[in-house]
C-alpha cells in the first residue's frame, strides 16, 4: 500500500471554530495512527475577526516539515479561504459551504477561484449544523463530518476526540457537537457514495507506542515542569504566551508559582533572583522582550547566576510581525548585551526536542552558572506533533549545581578561577559561604575590582566555562552517507525539518548531499561542523532571516564561501524550495 502524505487546511474567520476543528482533526488522525505535523496561523489583532488557518500534514511516515501544497481545503468562510487557493496542489479537493445565507455576487464564492483541476464539494455546513443542533456554531463540526465521510475515515476516531473535548461542558454541548458532526458525515455518505478521497489508516504499530499531541510551547512547559521548575515569571507576548498559560494551569498543582510581571526586565530579574536563591525559574519572551532583557542577561553572565530564558522568535525588528515566524534573533541571543557576555544558546528543531532541551537547559544553567537561552520560533512554538510519550516525559531531573566543599567554609571564594572556569556555587544562607554578588567586575572573592589583570582573568574564566559546556551540549547530528559530498545543508531550529526532507529527497534522486543539524548555537561544536564542511564541496545554509545569521556565525569554518538561502516572508521554509536550491547549485556545478 502506498504511503499516505496529505495536507489538509481548514480556513475560516475568527470565531468560526477553525482552530478547534483543526485540533480535533489532528487528534483524530493521530488516534488513527498517522504521524502529524500541524500549524495554525491566526490574526495578530486581539479582535473577533481575521483569518484563521490550520494546516495539518499527516502520513504514514514521520512528518518533518509542512508540505508545499494543500491537498484538501475546508473553507468555513470563503472570503478568507480564497487567499489559500494559491497553496492548492494539483487535483486538490475543496470542501465549502454551498448554502450561504443569501446569494452572493460573482467572485465571492471560493468556487469562482479554484483551478479547473480542483474537485469542488459544496456541502451545506451551516444548514447541517443548524438542523442537527439548533445552532450554526457547530458548522466546523459539520464540516469535519463531511470531510470524514468523503475520506472514508472511521468516524470513531472523531467521536473519541469530540467526547474528550466537550464532555466537561455537559451533555447538551457534547450532543450538539456530535450531532453536527454526524449530520456532515451522513450528508457526505448520501451525496457522495463513492468516497472520493479514501484515506486508509495505517496498520496498528506492532509495539503500541503511546503518542501525545503537543505543541512546541506545551513541550517547553512540560520540560520545565519535569525539570522541577519552581517559579515562572513572564510578561505576555506572542508567540511565547502559551507557555505561561500552560504553566499557570499546571505549575501551582506542583507547588510552584506563576507570576505575571510588569515587564520583561522584571521577569528576567526575578528569574535571576530565584536561581540565585537556589530555585529553578524560567521566563519566556519574544524578540522585543529579549532586547529588554539584554542588560539583565549580562548581569547573569557577570554574576554567574543561572537563568533559563525561552526566546520564541517572531518577525522583527521591533514589534515587527507578531504572528509570523522568523529566525532573526540568533545574533541577539548569542551576542546581545553589553560587554563580552558569553551565554549558552540552544535551538530545538522539533517538538520532542523542545521538551528535551528545555529540561536540559536547567541543568546546564546550574552547572555552568549562566543564562541559557532556548531559541525557538513561532512555527516551532505553535506547531503540533504527535510525539511518542516516552520522548516527552519521565526524564530524570539532574541537579546541575556544584556546591563548594566543606573545607572552603569560612574562606569561600565564589569566583575561584579553576581550569574549567566553573567555580563551586554556594546558595545564600549557607553558613560560612557569604559572598558579594555584583554586576561590577570582581575578584575571585566577588569584591569589585576593575584592574586590568582581574578583568582579563575573569573574562577568560567566563569564556572558558562556556567552552567547557560543549561537552554537555547536544552535538551536531549528521544525516548523510560517508565520504565526500557534493553539497551539505546545515540548518537549525524549525527550519531543520524542511532541510532534512529536501536532502532525503535529493538523495533519492541520486545526489550526493547530506544534512547537518546544529542544536547548540553557542557555544557551537566547531570541530564537528568543520569536519562535516570539509567533506562538502558546497555548503548551503537555509534560514528564515535576512542576512544568514547562522552563516555569519559558522560560515568561516568552511574552506569556501557558504551559500546562504534566506527568506523573510514570515512563513516556514518548505522542503521544495530548499530542494530546488540544492538542484540549482549542483546543476550549476555540472555545467
Amino acid at each position: 500500500m502506498p504511503g499516505v502524505d496529505l495536507t489538509i487546511e481548514i480556513c475560516g474567520m475568527s470565531g468560526d471554530g477553525t482552530i478547534a476543528a483543526g485540533t480535533l482533526l489532528n487528534e483524530a488522525l493521530s488516534g488513527a495512527g498517522f504521524s502529524i505535523i500541524g500549524f495554525d496561523s491566526y490574526p495578530a489583532e486581539i479582535r473577533g475577526f481575521g483569518r484563521c488557518v490550520t494546516r495539518s500534514r499527516f502520513g504514514t511516515s514521520r512528518m518533518l516539515a509542512l508540505s508545499d501544497h494543500t491537498h484538501v481545503l475546508i473553507s468555513l468562510d470563503d472570503q478568507q479561504a480564497i487567499s489559500r487557493i494559491s497553496m492548492l496542489g494539483k487535483n486538490a479537493k475543496v470542501l465549502f459551504d454551498n448554502k450561504p445565507a443569501g446569494t452572493v455576487q460573482e467572485g465571492m464564492s471560493i468556487a469562482a477561484h479554484t483551478a479547473p483541476d480542483a474537485d469542488l464539494y459544496g456541502m451545506p455546513f451551516t444548514d447541517l449544523a443548524s438542523e442537527a443542533a439548533g445552532t450554526t456554531r457547530g458548522k466546523n463540526l459539520a464540516a469535519l463530518g463531511c470531510f470524514t465521510g468523503l475520506a472514508g475515515i472511521d468516524p470513531r476516531f472523531f467521536y473519541t476526540v469530540i467526547e474528550k473535548k466537550f464532555r466537561a461542558k455537559g451533555e447538551t454541548v457534547l450532543n450538539a457537537n456530535l450531532n453536527s458532526f454526524n449530520a456532515g458525515l451522513t450528508y457526505a455518505h448520501t451525496h457522495f457514495e463513492d468516497a472520493p478521497l479514501v484515506i486508509t489508516a495505517p496498520a496498528p504499530e506492532k509495539k503500541k507506542v503511546q503518542r501525545i499531541m503537543l505543541s512546541g510551547n506545551a513541550a517547553i512547559a512540560r520540560g520545565a515542569l519535569d525539570a522541577g521548575l519552581a517559579l515562572y515569571f513572564g510578561y505576555p507576548i506572542t508567540p511565547a504566551t502559551p507557555i505561561m498559560e500552560y504553566l499557570a494551569k499546571t505549575l501551582p498543582q506542583k507547588g510552584g508559582k506563576v507570576v505575571q510581571m510588569e515587564d520583561e526586565i522584571s521577569s528576567i530579574g526575578a528569574v535571576l533572583g530565584s536561581f540565585y536563591a537556589g530555585k529553578r525559574a524560567m521566563t519566556a519572551t519574544s524578540g522585543p522582550g529579549l532586547a529588554l532583557m539584554a542588560e539583565m542577561i549580562s548581569l547573569g553572565v557577570m554574576s554567574e547566576t543561572p537563568a533559563v530564558i525561552v526566546d520564541a522568535q517572531r518577525g522583527g525588528p521591533s514589534t515587527g510581525l507578531p504572528t509570523k515566524t522568523e529566525q532573526s534573533d540568533l545574533h541577539a541571543a548569542v551576542f546581545g548585551g553589553p560587554g563580552d557576555s558569553p551565554r549558552i544558546v540552544i535551538a530545538p528543531t522539533d517538538v520532542a526536542e523542545c521538551y528535551q532541551f528545555t529540561l536540559k537547559s536547567f541543568e546546564l544553567a546550574e552547572k555552568y552558572q549562566t543564562p541559557v537561552i532556548v531559541l525557538t520560533d513561532f512555527f516551532l512554538d505553535n506547531r503540533v506533533e504527535n510525539v511518542a510519550a516516552a520522548d516527552i516525559s519521565g526524564k530524570k531531573r539532574v541537579d546541575g549545581n556544584i556546591y563548594p566543599p566543606k573545607k572552603e567554609q569560612g574562606r569561600y571564594q565564589r569566583y575561584l578561577v579553576t581550569p574549567s572556569g566553573i567555580s563551586p556555587r554556594a546558595l545564600p544562607g549557607s553558613e560560612g559561604y557569604i559572598y558579594p554578588a555584583t554586576g561590577l567586575e570582581h575578584t575571585e572573592a566577588g569584591l569589585p575590582d576593575y584592574s586590568e589583570p582581574v578583568h582579563m582573568q575573569m573574562n577568560a574564566k567566563r569564556h572558558t566555562k562556556i567552552r567547557q559546556a560543549l561537552a554537555d551540549l547536544p552535538p551536531p547530528k549528521e544525516f548523510s552517507q560517508k565520504g565526500p559530498l557534493d553539497l551539505g545543508v546545515i540548518a537549525w531550529g524549525s527550519s531543520f525539518g524542511a532541510a532534512l526532507e529536501a536532502v532525503l529527497k535529493a538523495r533519492k534522486k541520486g545526489l550526493a548531499v547530506g544534512a547537518l543539524k546544529v542544536i547548540s548555537l553557542f557555544p557551537y561544536h566547531e570541530e564537528q561542523i568543520r569536519q562535516f564542511m570539509s567533506r562538502c564541496r558546497r555548503v548551503l545554509i537555509p534560514e528564515l532571516n535576512f542576512q544568514g545569521q547562522l552563516a555569519n556565525l559558522i560560515g568561516h569554518l568552511h574552506h569556501g564561501d557558504v551559500v546562504r538561502f534566506n527568506r523573510t516572508t514570515g512563513t516556514p521554509l518548505l522542503p521544495s524550495e530548499i530542494l530546488l536550491k540544492i538542484q540549482e547549485l549542483l546543476q550549476k556545478d555540472n555545467t
Partner: protein
C-alpha cells in the same frame, strides 16, 4: 464601458468549441465555462474505446485544462447551474453565486435516459456518458464474464464492440422500445440484430424484461419472457435526454431541448443553444431537428458562438441528411458505424 462576459453552460464538444470560438471572435471579452462535470472536456464517444484499452485517457480529454487557462477561458468545473434569469441576464449556481452575462450559450448535452419501467432497477444499470462513469465499469469489468446490454443507441453499439474485444460474453436486449430520440422500426431492428449476431452477440430481440434480481456483488439474474440469464453486469443505453431541468423557470421556449432558430438563437436575446440539448428549426421541413454526435456538436457550438459574437451564420443541414424516425427529426450517422 462594461466588458462583455460570455458564459457557456456545458463543456462537452459543443460547449468547449463555443468557448474557444467566442474567445477567438471576441478576444477582449471574458469567457467563462460552467460545467457540472468534475473533469475537462470528455469525448464520451471515445469512452468505450478507453474501456477496451484502445484509447488513452489523454485522448479522451482532448483539450488540456491548461489550454483553457492559456486561452483566457475561465473553466469552472464541478459547478451546477440551477437557474437562468434572462431578464437580469444572470445565471444562478447551486452554491448560490450569481454571475452576470452579456451572452449565454447553453450546451449542456444530455444525460442517459432510463425508461420508466427500468427505473426500479436503476442501481443495477451502468451507463457510460461521463468519465466518472468509467470508474464503475473499470471496477466491475475485470470480474465480469457476461454482460447484458440493454437499449440500442450509438453508445450501446460502441460499448458492445469494445466488450467483444475484451472477450466478454454479450447479451443484447434489442426490444425496440422507445429511447429518445430514436425508435427502431422492424427493418432497422432486423438489420442491427443480424450484425450483432454475426459478431457472436446473443440477441434477445423482442423480449420483454420481467425483472432483475441481484445474486451476488455485481452479478444479476435477469428474467426475460420466461427465460432467465445470469450476467455479471448490465449496461443501459437508451439514448440521452437533454439536461435542461434548470431552465424550467427561465421562460425560454423548451420542448425536449431548447428550441432555437436556424441561427441557434433561443426565444430570448443573447441566449443560444448548441449540441445535443438544442432543437433546431429547419425552415424547409418546418420542424425542429436534433443532432447527435461529436462532430455535429462541435459544428453547432461554433455557429452559436459566431452568432453570439455578432455574426450571422446559419446551420446548414441538407434535409436528406435528416432522418425522420417516427416523428423525430435526427441528423446522425448513428448505428451504421458499427
Amino acid at each position: 464601458m462594461r466588458e462583455d462576459h460570455f458564459i457557456v453552460i456545458g463543456n462537452g464538444p459543443a460547449g468547449s468549441q463555443a468557448a474557444f470560438t467566442l474567445k477567438e471572435k471576441a478576444p477582449e471579452a471574458r469567457v467563462t465555462i460552467v460545467t457540472k462535470e468534475r473533469e475537462g472536456c470528455c469525448h464520451s464517444h471515445l469512452l468505450p474505446g478507453f474501456l477496451a484499452g484502445s484509447i488513452s485517457e489523454k485522448k479522451v480529454f482532448a483539450i488540456s485544462l491548461d489550454h483553457y487557462t492559456k486561452s483566457g477561458i475561465k473553466l469552472r468545473t464541478g459547478q451546477s447551474v440551477v437557474d437562468v434569469n434572462p431578464q437580469r441576464k444572470e445565471i444562478l449556481l447551486e452554491h448560490k453565486e450569481t454571475i452576470s452575462y452579456s451572452g449565454l450559450i447553453i450546451a449542456v448535452g444530455g444525460r442517459p435516459y432510463i425508461p420508466e419501467p427500468l427505473l426500479a432497477y436503476r442501481e443495477h444499470l451502468c451507463t457510460l456518458k461521463t468519465f466518472q462513469d468509467t470508474g464503475t465499469w473499470r471496477q466491475l469489468l475485470p470480474a465480469a464474464d457476461s454482460i447484458l446490454i440493454m437499449g440500442g443507441d450509438l453508445t450501446s453499439l460502441a460499448v458492445t464492440k469494445s466488450l467483444l474485444a475484451l472477450k466478454k460474453k454479450i447479451y443484447f436486449m434489442l426490444t425496440g422500445e422507445a429511447f429518445w430520440p430514436l425508435r427502431f422500426d422492424k427493418a432497422l431492428q432486423e438489420e442491427v440484430s443480424g450484425k450483432l449476431t454475426k459478431r457472436g452477440v446473443t440477441v434477445l430481440a423482442g423480449n420483454k424484461l420481467v425483472g432483475i434480481e441481484p445474486v451476488r456483488s455485481g452479478s444479476c439474474r435477469v428474467y426475460v419472457d420466461g427465460q432467465k440469464i445470469k450476467v455479471d453486469m448490465i449496461g443501459a443505453f437508451f439514448g440521452l435526454v437533454p439536461d435542461i431541468g434548470f431552465l424550467r423557470r427561465s421562460g425560454l421556449q423548451l420542448d425536449r431541448g431548447v428550441l432555437v432558430d436556424e441561427y441557434l438563437c433561443s426565444s430570448h436575446e443573447g441566449i443560444c443553444a448548441a449540441g445535443d440539448c438544442a432543437q433546431i428549426y429547419h425552415p424547409e421541413i418546418k420542424d425542429y431537428w436534433v443532432s447527435i454526435g461529436t462532430k455535429n456538436a462541435r459544428s453547432l457550438g461554433k455557429i452559436a458562438a459566431v452568432n453570439l459574437a455578432g455574426g450571422r451564420k446559419k446551420t446548414r443541414v441538407d434535409r436528406e441528411r435528416i432522418f425522420d424516425i417516427q416523428g423525430v427529426k435526427v441528423n446522425t450517422s448513428w448505428w451504421m458505424e458499427f
